[in-house]
Symmetry: D2
Subunit: 333 residues, 4 copies
C-alpha cells in the first residue's frame, strides 16, 4: 500500500485524490494547500488528514508525494521531496525556467529517488493504442506526425499572466507527445504564434493560436497546432504518417447518438475539456506510477523528459518571438 501525500488541493488535486483513493494499491494519507480551507475540504472528502507540505515531507510513514501545487513551487518541492526520500509524481510543467528545471533535475537525480512528470496524455487509451501500433511496426517507419490540440475556451487573463505562455503551458503537452511518439528531441523548432482569439491575450505578450514544426536529424517532421478556442469542445487528435500507412487517434465524443433530420446528420461533440477527456488517463497515470515505484522499475515519464519538453517550449517561444527556427543545441548548451 503506497502511502501518499498530496501537495495542492485545487482542481487537479481533486482529480489526483480521486485516482489515489480509487487505486487498490495506494492510500491518500494527507493533503496540504496554501489555502487551508481547500486542503480541509479535499481531506474531508477522501478521509485524509490536513497538514503542511513540510509535515508531509517529514513524515517517514509517507512513501510518495504527488505535487499538484502552482508551477512556481514545483522545482523546490521536487528537490525537497526527493531529499526527504519520497517517490514523486509532479504535475507538468517542471518549471517555467529551463535553467531552474535543469538544476532541479540534477539535484533530484543525485538523490536516486524516482520522479515522474504528469504528462497524462501518454496514458490516454487512444494515444497509447496508437503508440503501441506504431511501435509494433504497423505503419512501417514513422515520417510525419501531426497533433491537433485545441482548448474549448481561453483561460482567464489572470491565469495567462502567470502561465509562462502558450508554449510552456499548453503546447508542452504536445511537445511531450512528440518526444514520446518520435523518440527523442528534434534538431530544430520553428514556431509561429499569433493572437487572433482574444486581443487581450496578445496584449499580455502571449499568443492564443500557434503552429510549431519540429525537424528531426533523420528528416522526420512533426507539426503541432494549438488554439485556445474551439467552441465545439476539447479537440485532441493525433495522426502519424508512416511508410506503410497512417494512424489516427480521433476525438472521444460525449455520446454515440446520431440524429438525422432535415438539417443534416449530427453526432455528439468531443468531450468538453481535460477533466472529461482525460479522467481515465489520470487514473492510468497514477497506476503506472504506483506500479513503477513498487516494482522499482523505470518511471513511465522521467524528470529528464519533463525538462526536455520544457526545452522544446523554450525553443518554440524563442522561435515565435524572433521569427526564426531555433536549433535545440542552442537551447540545451
Amino acid at each position: 500500500m503506497l502511502k501518499t501525500g498530496l501537495l495542492g488541493a485545487g482542481r487537479i488535486g481533486h482529480v489526483h485524490a480521486n485516482a489515489i483513493s480509487a487505486h487498490p494499491g495506494s492510500t491518500l494519507v494527507a493533503v496540504s494547500d496554501v489555502v487551508t480551507a481547500n486542503a480541509e475540504k479535499l481531506a474531508a472528502a477522501y478521509g485524509a488528514e490536513t497538514r503542511t507540505s513540510e509535515a508531509i515531507l517529514q513524515d517517514p510513514e509517507i512513501d510518495a508525494v504527488l505535487i499538484a501545487t502552482s508551477t512556481d513551487t514545483h522545482s523546490d518541492l521536487i528537490e525537497a521531496a526527493t531529499a526527504a526520500g519520497k517517490a514523486v509524481l509532479c504535475e507538468k510543467p517542471v518549471d517555467l525556467s529551463l535553467g531552474r528545471a535543469r538544476a532541479c533535475l540534477a539535484r533530484a537525480e543525485a538523490t536516486g529517488q524516482p520522479v515522474m512528470v504528469g504528462f497524462n496524455r501518454r496514458f490516454d487509451p487512444g494515444f497509447a493504442a496508437l503508440k503501441t501500433a506504431c511501435d509494433a511496426g504497423e505503419i512501417g517507419k514513422a515520417e510525419l506526425l501531426s497533433i491537433t490540440s485545441f482548448d474549448p475556451a481561453p483561460p482567464p487573463l489572470a491565469y495567462v499572466k502567470v502561465s509562462g505562455g502558450l508554449f510552456r503551458d499548453m503546447m508542452i503537452h504536445d511537445f511531450d507527445m512528440a518526444q514520446w511518439m518520435m523518440g527523442g528531441l528534434p534538431d530544430s523548432v520553428s514556431a509561429v504564434g499569433t493572437s487572433v482569439v482574444d486581443p487581450a491575450i496578445g496584449a499580455e505578450g502571449d499568443v492564443d493560436t500557434a503552429v510549431a514544426t519540429l525537424r528531426y536529424a533523420d528528416g522526420r517532421l512533426a507539426v503541432i497546432k494549438n488554439s485556445r478556442r474551439a467552441v465545439y469542445g476539447y479537440d485532441q487528435r493525433l495522426e502519424l504518417l508512416g511508410s506503410e500507412g497512417l494512424l489516427q487517434a480521433q476525438n472521444m465524443l460525449e455520446s454515440n447518438v446520431v440524429k438525422s433530420n432535415a438539417q443534416g446528420v449530427t453526432g455528439a461533440k468531443p468531450t468538453y475539456f481535460f477533466l472529461e477527456r482525460y479522467m481515465p488517463a489520470y487514473r492510468a497515470e497514477w497506476a503506472a506510477f504506483v506500479d513503477a515505484v513498487q516494482s522499482g522499475g523505470a518511471m513511465p515519464v522521467t524528470l529528464a523528459e519533463g525538462v526536455a519538453a520544457l526545452a522544446l517550449a523554450e525553443a518554440a517561444t524563442l522561435s515565435s518571438r524572433e521569427g526564426r527556427p531555433v536549433a535545440m543545441r542552442d537551447i540545451l548548451n
Copy 2:
C-alpha cells in the same frame, strides 16, 4: 447509507458488488451463494461477510438485496425479500414462467416494497441519450423502432439448455428496450427464429438467430434482430425513425484509433461483450435504484415491466414455434 445484501456471487454478482461498493450511498454488507467458496471469494474482495440467503433476508440491519442468483430462484427470492421488508433489485428475467412471474408480481406488490428489475440497457449512456432526445420531441412522433442485438459468440450448450430459449434469455433485453422506447406493449408479436449459427442449439429446440416484429395499436412498428454470433464483437445498436428524423445509438468501440493502409481504413471493433459495454450502465442502474429507494420515488424499472417483457418473450416464443403472429391479449388473459 443503503446496507445491501447480495444474493449470488457469480460473474454478474461481481459486477454488482463493484457497483454497490463504489457508490457513496451504499455499502455491501453480506453476500450469499450456493457455492460457498464463490461467496467467500467475493466477500473477501469487497470486505463483506459471507452468509446464507436466509440470514441476509432476516437481518433487520439490511435495507436492500440485489438478486443475482440463477433465474429459477428469482421469483421465490423476490417474494421472500419483499416479505422481509427489503427493497429489491433483481436481475432479469423475473422468471422463465410467465404465470409464476405474474404470481410473484401480485405477492410482491401486496407487500408494498419497492422492486426493480435489472434491465441494465436503460442506463446505457447512448440509449438513455436517445430516449431523452425522443422524449424531447427531437424526431417528432416515433414510428419505426429497430434494434440490432448480436452476441459475440453463443453461450455454452449447458447454458442454452436452462436459459428458457433465446427470446426469454437474450431478446428479453430488447423487448424491454422496445416497451421503454415505445411506451407500453404492442398488440401483436410476429417472430421468426432459426438455427443457423450452431446446429446443436437447434437440436436443443432453441434458435440462435431471430427477428421479431411488434405491431402497436396505433400502427407504430418495432423490429428486433438477434444473433448469437457476431465475430466482430457485441453489436448493440438501436435506431428510431420518427416523423421529423432518425435517432441512432451506435456501438461503443474498443478504441478511437483508425489505421489506413493498403488494405483499407480500419477502426476498432465494438467493445467485446456486456461486461465491457455495459459496465457504466450497471453503475448507473445501481445509482438509480439507490436514489429511488432513498427518495421513495418510483422504481426506474418496475417489476410489472419485468413481467411485461417476459410476456413479450412468451409471445415471441409461441409465434416462432407456431409460425403465426400472436396477439398480446391472448398471452395476458
Copy 3:
C-alpha cells in the same frame, strides 16, 4: 452500336435516355410516349425521332427497346417487343398482377429474345461491392440480411392509388435485393404493414410503413424495413451478417464536409432521392444490358427474377393483409 428505341418519356425515361446516349456502344434512335409533347421534348434533347410504340417495334433497324411506360403496359409491351425480335430492358415491376406477369414470362421466353428487368440497385456501386465481397466469402456464410429502404417523402395520393401498394411498388426493389443477395426465394414471408405516416394512404387501403421477414429453407433470414418518409433524405442501407463478419453498405452523402460547432458535429444528409442516389447505377445497368445483348451472355437480371420479386410482393401484401405468414409455394402454385 445498339440502336435503341425508348418507350415512355417521363421522368425515368429521361434518366434512361441519358444513359443510352452517354454509352459509347448504343444510340437512341426513337422515343414514344402517350403524351406526344413529352416524347418530342425528350427526342429533341437527345437528337432522336418521335414515333409511336408500334412504329418503334416494327422498325427492323432497331435492336433493342427500353420500356419505361406506366406499369399497366409493361407485360403487353414485353410480349410485343420480344415477338418483334427486340432485346428488352423493362422497368420494374413487370406487372401488378402476378398471373399476368407469369403469362408474359412464358410468352417472352418462347421467343428466345433477351429480356432484362430494371432493378437498378443491383448496379449501385456500394451494393455491388458488398455482393462481390459476400460472394468472395469475406464474411463466411451469410445468415441474416437487413435492408433499410426509406423514401424521403410519400408519393402523391394519385400515384398511391395506381401503384399496386407499397409492397409491389416500393419494397419490390428490396425483394429483388434479397433474392440477389441470398440466392433465390425464401420459403415464407411474414409482413406487417401499417399507415402511420399519412392516414390518407391508409384510407386508400395501402400502407406507408412496413416490415417483412423472409425465412429461407436453410434457416437464413432477411428483414426489410420500408417507410414512405424519412425527412433527412433517401435512406438506402443494407447489411449482411455472416459466420465470419458483417458487411454494410452505407448511405451516399450529399457532401463530405463536416461542421463542428456548439450544437454538435454535423455531416451532410444522404443524397435526396433515387435520381441522385442511383444515377451511376442507371448508367451501369444500361452498360450491363448492352454488354449482355452484344455478347449474347446471360441477362444480368432476368425476367424470371422480375416475376419472382413480384411473387414476393404478392406474398407480403397477402401476409400483411391477413396477418399471417405466407408460404411461397402457395403463391407460386
Copy 4:
C-alpha cells in the same frame, strides 16, 4: 458553342478533352502535341482534328484554347494565345520561374483576353461546399487553416528532375487553396522540407515531405502538410477553424461498404489519385470557364492568382532551403 483547341494530349489532356466534349456548350475542334501520335490518338477518340499549336492559335474559328502542355511552354503559349485573341485555360503552374510568370501576366493582361489557371481543387464539390459555408459565416471568423495533401506514391525520378520541386509542383495546389480560403497572400512563409520517403528524391535536391506555415497580416495562420507517399491512397483533406466552429472536408472513399470482422471495422480507402478524386472537379472547372467566357464575367481563377501561388511556392522553396521564414514582400518586390 465554344470552339476549343487543346494543346497537349498527355494524361491531363485526355481529362480535359473529356470535359470539353461532355459540356453542352463547348466542342473540341483540334488538338496538338509534340508527339503527333499522341495528338492523333486523342483526336480520334473525340472526333477532333490534329493540328500544330500554331495552326490552332491562328485559326479564327477557334474561340478558346486549353493549355495542357509541359510546364516550360506555358508562359509562351499563354502569351501567344492571348495575342491571337483566344480565351485561355492553362494548367498549373504558370511557370517554374516567378519572373517569367510575372512577365507573362503583364503581357497577357495587356491583351485584355480572359485567362484562367487550372487550379482544379477549387471546383471539388467538398472544398467548394466548405468555402461556401465559410463565406456564409457558418464558423464565424476563420483563424487557422490546415491542409493535408499526400500523394499515393512518388512520381518517377525523371519527373522529379524537371518538376521544379515539391513546392512548385505539388504544394502549389495547396498554396492556391490557402489564398482562396484565406483571401489573399500571407505576410510570411516558413517551410521545412525533408526527404524521408525516397533518398533519391533528396539526392536530386528536392524534398518529399514538407510542412509550410503561412502567417497573415491579421494574425491568421495556415499550415500545409505534403508527403509524396501515402500507401492508402490520395489523402486530400482540409479543415478550417473559426471563431464559431470547425469545417472539415474529408476524403472521398472508393466505396461506402464497411466490413466488420475479428480484425476490426474496415471501410474503403480514399480514391486513389487525382484522376479519380478530381474528375468531377475537372468537369466543373471547365464549365466555370465556359460560363465566364460566354458571359464576359470574371475568370474563376485569374492568371494573377496563378502567379501569386507561384510566389508562395518560391517563398517556401527559399524558406526550406535557407532554414528561415521568408517575407512575401521580399519575393514580390
